[in-house]
Amino acid sequence: MTMNRRAFLGTTAAATAALGTPMILKAQPAEYIIGASLPLTGPFATAGQLVAPAFTMAQKLFNDEGGVAGTPIRFVTEDSGYIPQNSLANYQRALASHGNNLVGYMADSTGAMKLMAPELKGANARIMGSTSFASELADPATHPYQYVSGPSYQSQFDILLENIKAEGGTTVAFIYSNTEFGRDPIAHGRATAERLGLKVVLEEVTKPQGADIPTHVTKLAQSGAEYCILQGYVTGVWPQLIGGARQFGLPTKFRGTFWGMEKIIADRITEQAGPFLAGYEGVMPYRYFWDQADAPRYQTYAKYAGEMFAGTPLEKYLSTWTLQTMCGLEIAFKTLRDTAEAGHELTADNLAETLAGISDWDTGGFFGGPISMVNNAIGTGRVYAYDPESGLFNPTSDWLSV
C-alpha cells in the first residue's frame, strides 16, 4: 500500500489523537497536596501540637492504601498562631505554591473558616474541613466547599436535649461562654427544648474562663434546673462550676458538648480537684479510641500509632481532638478518591458534589453505623458519662441521629 500525503497526515493526526489526548486528559500531578493551618503557637498551641502528628499518620496511611487513585497525597502544614488572617495567608500561599495540585485544605478555627468562606470562588476554591463544629458552616447554600466533621453544635444540643427528654427530664439550664462557639446553639437549643416540652429555666452567659462562679452557682440553685448544659468551654469552668455546685449540694446533672469530652483533661482535673466529675455526661460525635472492638479503622490507627509514635502518649491513645482531625481527613480522602475513581477532575466543584453526595458510608467505626453527609455535616453522636475511677467516658445512650 502506498501512502500519499493526505493519508500520511490523516494517519499522523489519528495517531497523535489516540496517543496524546489521553495523556492530556489524564495528566496527573506527581502528588496531590492537602494544605493545613494548625495553631502550633499561640493560645491553642497545646491542642495544635497534639493534633499535628495525626497528619503524619494520615499521610502514611492514605499512601499505603494507594493514595488518590494511585497518586500519592502529601500534607503541607503551617502554623497559624490561631489568627484567622494568618490562616487565610497560609491558604493563599498554598494556592500560589501548589496551584492545582492543592486539592483540599484544613483550617484551624471557626474564625478562619468564616473568613475564608467568601474567598472560595472560581480558581481559588478548594474543599475545606476544620476543627469547627459551627452551625453556620453546615449550610451548602452559603458554604458549598466547607464541611463539618461531625454534628454541628446545634445538632449536639439536639442530641443532648433528646437524651434528657428520654431520661424523663423536665427542666434544663443553659450556661455558656460569651464566645462565638458558646452562643452558637443557644437560640436553636431553646427552640428544640420547647418542641420537646422541656422548660429552659436559666440561660446564663459567662466569661470563657475565670468566671465569677459563685454567682452562677447561686443562680443555678435558684433556677431548680434538673439538667444544666455547658457550652463554649474547653476546661475553664468544670472545677469551679460543677465542683461548686457539688459543694453547694445541688443535684443538677451536668452535660457538655464535644470540647468538654476529652479524657486527658477530665483525668487531670480529677487528679487535681477530686472526683466531682462523676456523672458528668456529654455528647461525643465519635467512638472513643479505646473502644476498638467494632472499629476496624481504629485498629488500623492503633497499629500505625504503635509504630510511628512509640514512646509518646500517642502510642496508646488518640485524643478526641486527634480523632476529629482524622475524621476530617478521612472525609477529604474519601471525597478525593471517589471523585478520581469516578473519572472526574479534582476540581472544587466536582469534589463539593461528591462530598454532598456521601451516603451510607461505613467509616470503619468512627460512628455507630454508616453515615451520610447532610448539609455538609454528620448529624450523629452518642452520650457518654465520665467515670473518675476508671478514667473513661462510657456510653449511656445508643447512637443518636438528628
Binding site: 502528628p53 503524619t56 502544614t77 505554591s97 474564625g111 467568601p118
Partner: protein
C-alpha cells in the same frame, strides 16, 4: 552636618524629595507598586494589602505618638470602629444610595465618626500622660470590642460571629478582586504618607511637635494643649478609621477577634521599630512587622517542605527568631529602621567621600 544636598533656593529647601537618591527611592517605589499590581500572585497581593492597611493605621499612630508624644494602647479600637462603621453604613445605604456612591459616602462618614470618638478617648490626655495615658486609652479597646460583641447590637455588628462585608464600588469601578483592592489600598497608603508628611509642614503639625518636646513650654508659647492634643487624637483616630474601612472592604468578613489588644500593640510596635516621628518610619515598621514573619515562614516552609513533624518544631522557633530580630533592631538602632535607611542614603549621597 555634611549631607551632600545642594540647596540654592528656598524652594529647594522646601522640597520633600530633596536629592537624587530619594527621588530614585520614591519614584522607583511607585514603579514597583505598579509592576506589583500587574505581576504579583494572589498571595503576594494579600500580604501587600495587609502592609498597606496597617501602614495607614501606623501613620496615624505616628502622628499621636511619634509627633505629639502621646501614647495610646487603644488604637486597635479605632480600626474596629472604622471597619464596623463603614460596613454598617454601607449596608444601611444599600438600595437607597446608588452603588457607585455608597463607598464614597460611607468611608468619609466612618472616618469622621472614628475621629469624633478619638476626641472622646483623648480626653484623659489633658490630665495624664505617659504610661498613665496608655492605660487610660487601653479601656477604649475593651469597650469597643464589648459593644461590638454585645447581643444588643448584634443585628448591626454581627456580634461574636462577625459580619460579611460589602464590595466597594467607586463610581462604577467595582473592587471585587484583591488586585483591584490592592490598587485602592496602595493609593490610600501613599496619600496617607504624603498627608502625614505635609501635616508637619503646617502650624498644626509644628504645634504637635512643640507639645511632644515640652508641653508646658508649648502652652506658654500660646499653643492650646486642649485643642491640639485632642486634634492629634482625632487625626490619628481618623487614620485608623480609614485603615479600618480598607480592612472591611478588603476582607470578605470582619470578626471582633481581629481588633483586640494585639492589634493595638502591633501598631505601637511598628511605629517604635520603624522610627517614631519620621515620615517613613511607619513604612519600615510595618514592613518588619508584617513581612519579616512571612519571610521567616516561607523560608521555614522551604526547609521543612511542609512536613508536619518538622513544622511542629520550627513553628515556635519562628516566633523566637522574630522576637530576636525586633530586639536586634532596637539595640542596633533605637531611633528605628528609618535612621538606618537615612544613614545608607546619606552615605550613598556623599559617596565616595565620608560615610556614616
Amino acid at each position: 552636618m555634611i549631607n551632600g544636598n545642594l540647596k540654592s533656593s528656598y524652594g529647594s529647601d522646601e522640597r520633600i524629595v530633596n536629592n537624587g537618591y530619594k527621588q530614585a527611592f520614591v519614584y522607583g517605589s511607585f514603579l514597583c507598586l505598579a509592576a506589583f499590581a500587574l505581576f504579583a500572585n494572589d498571595y503576594m497581593i494579600l500580604i501587600a494589602c495587609q502592609v498597606g492597611i496597617l501602614l495607614v493605621a501606623v501613620v496615624g499612630i505616628n502622628i499621636l505618638t511619634g509627633y505629639t508624644g502621646l501614647i495610646s494602647l487603644g488604637h486597635g479600637a479605632f480600626v474596629a470602629i472604622g471597619a464596623y462603621a463603614v460596613t454598617i453604613l454601607h449596608n444601611a445605604m444599600d438600595g437607597i444610595v446608588p452603588d457607585a456612591l455608597t463607598a464614597l459616602i460611607a468611608i468619609p462618614v466612618a472616618v469622621t465618626i472614628t475621629a469624633l470618638i478619638g476626641i472622646i478617648v483623648g480626653l484623659p490626655s489633658l490630665r495624664v500622660k505617659g504610661l498613665y495615658l496608655a492605660v487610660a486609652t487601653l479601656a477604649a479597646s475593651f469597650i469597643v470590642i464589648f459593644i461590638v460583641e454585645n447581643e444588643t447590637f448584634a443585628g448591626y455588628t454581627g456580634g461574636v460571629v462577625g459580619i460579611n462585608t460589602p464590595v466597594p464600588n467607586l463610581l462604577g469601578w467595582e473592587l471585587d478582586t484583591k488586585r483591584e483592592m490592592f490598587i485602592f489600598i496602595s493609593v490610600s497608603a501613599v496619600l496617607a504618607l504624603l498627608a502625614g508628611q505635609n501635616l508637619f509642614r503646617t502650624r498644626v503639625g509644628r504645634a504637635f511637635i512643640a507639645i511632644r518636646d515640652r508641653d508646658y513650654s508649648a502652652e506658654i508659647l500660646g499653643i492650646s494643649l486642649l485643642r491640639y492634643k485632642l486634634m492629634s487624637f482625632a487625626l490619628s483616630a481618623a487614620y485608623c478609621g480609614m485603615a479600618g474601612a480598607l480592612f472591611a472592604y478588603f476582607y470578605a468578613r470582619i470578626l471582633p477577634e481581629q481588633f483586640e489588644l494585639e492589634l493595638s500593640l502591633e501598631l505601637i510596635a511598628a511605629v517604635i521599630v520603624g522610627g517614631m516621628g519620621r515620615t517613613l518610619g511607619p513604612l519600615f515598621g510595618v514592613i518588619l512587622i508584617v513581612l519579616v514573619p512571612e519571610l521567616i515562614k516561607v523560608t521555614a516552609s522551604v526547609v521543612t517542605n511542609g512536613d508536619t513533624a518538622s513544622t511542629r518544631i520550627i513553628a515556635p522557633l519562628q516566633e523566637i527568631i522574630f522576637g530576636l530580630l525586633l530586639i536586634f533592631f532596637l539595640l542596633k538602632e533605637p531611633l528605628g529602621i528609618n535612621h538606618i535607611v537615612d544613614r545608607l542614603i546619606r552615605a550613598a549621597n556623599r559617596w565616595p567621600f565620608a560615610r556614616g
